[in-house]
């Protein structure tokens, strides 16, 4: 993914270490995410 973005000229890319799993393990806050088909969605805090 990061490589794909770099190829498109987006170079300031930082992967989150441990992903969502580690974020949840740290008990940091999350918000609900419900998908509507075919659309991206911003999640508000």
């Amino acid at each position: 993914m990061a490589l794909q973005l770099k190829r498109q000229g987006i170079t300031r890319v930082r992967p989150l270490h441990g992903g969502l799993e580690l974020w949840k393990d740290r008990e940091f806050p999350t918000t609900d995410l419900k998908l509507s088909s075919g659309q991206t969605q911003s999640v508000t805090p």
Binding site: G18, G19, P29, V43
Partner: protein, 269 residues
Amino acid sequence: MSDTLQSLVQYGYLLLFAFVLAEQIGLPVPAVPVLLGVGALAGSGRMSLTLAFGAALAASLPPDLFWYELGRRRGNHVLRHLCRISLEPDSCVRRTEDLFVKRGRKTLVIAKFLPGLSTVAPPMAGMVGIGRLQFIALDIAALILWAGTWMGLGYVFSDALELVASRAARLGNWTAVVIGAAFGAYILIKFVQRRRFLRGLRIARITPDELKGRLDKGDDTFVIVDTRSVLDVNAAPYAIPGAMWIAAEDIERRRHDLPRDREIILYCS
């Protein structure tokens, strides 16, 4: 008959079992040449296709069932573990999930033809809840289709394959050296490319603590992008506050939604 084919006749079923088993458990060992050879020998009456199918099934079904059951119980952990031995682990999980979303159960039937995916399709089938009996039926169908295709080609072109084997045997050890060197070079190049890329990512990555700190300070010099697949989001319907969900397969289409003057922080499961 060449020495190669003589060995295949003598140890054919065992070799077939070993190569199919190795490929099914994820080792980068191609079973297709052995299937072609067995088909060729069956075409000349020196091996039995029925016994060959039996050997392939015995080598394929137990490891597939094992990974299927693990996938049912351990889900994404199993998939990631299997993908680590793939030469393309980053795309391995993603490609498998995308296929199951688009094609459902039919993915199992065609997965054996796709390098790397034949190993990860069974645990994915367990993860998405395909029933055990249905999985066994689909897995057997997949094996019959896959092994049958290659053995069938070997059967039809048995004369030509025997000629190729004889010519290769005349070159003697050089054939093995050239093939081995080409295969080794391919693996080495992939390994070096992957190490270079991972080294770059390791330097660039951000820890959850650092990200949380920046969010708490109200830092707006970055955007967070959730790149999980539909399957992953449905399994875990929550996200980091402020994250924008753009699945990996949509990145190309949605690239203009991503700012170029800010950091992009990516995460998946």
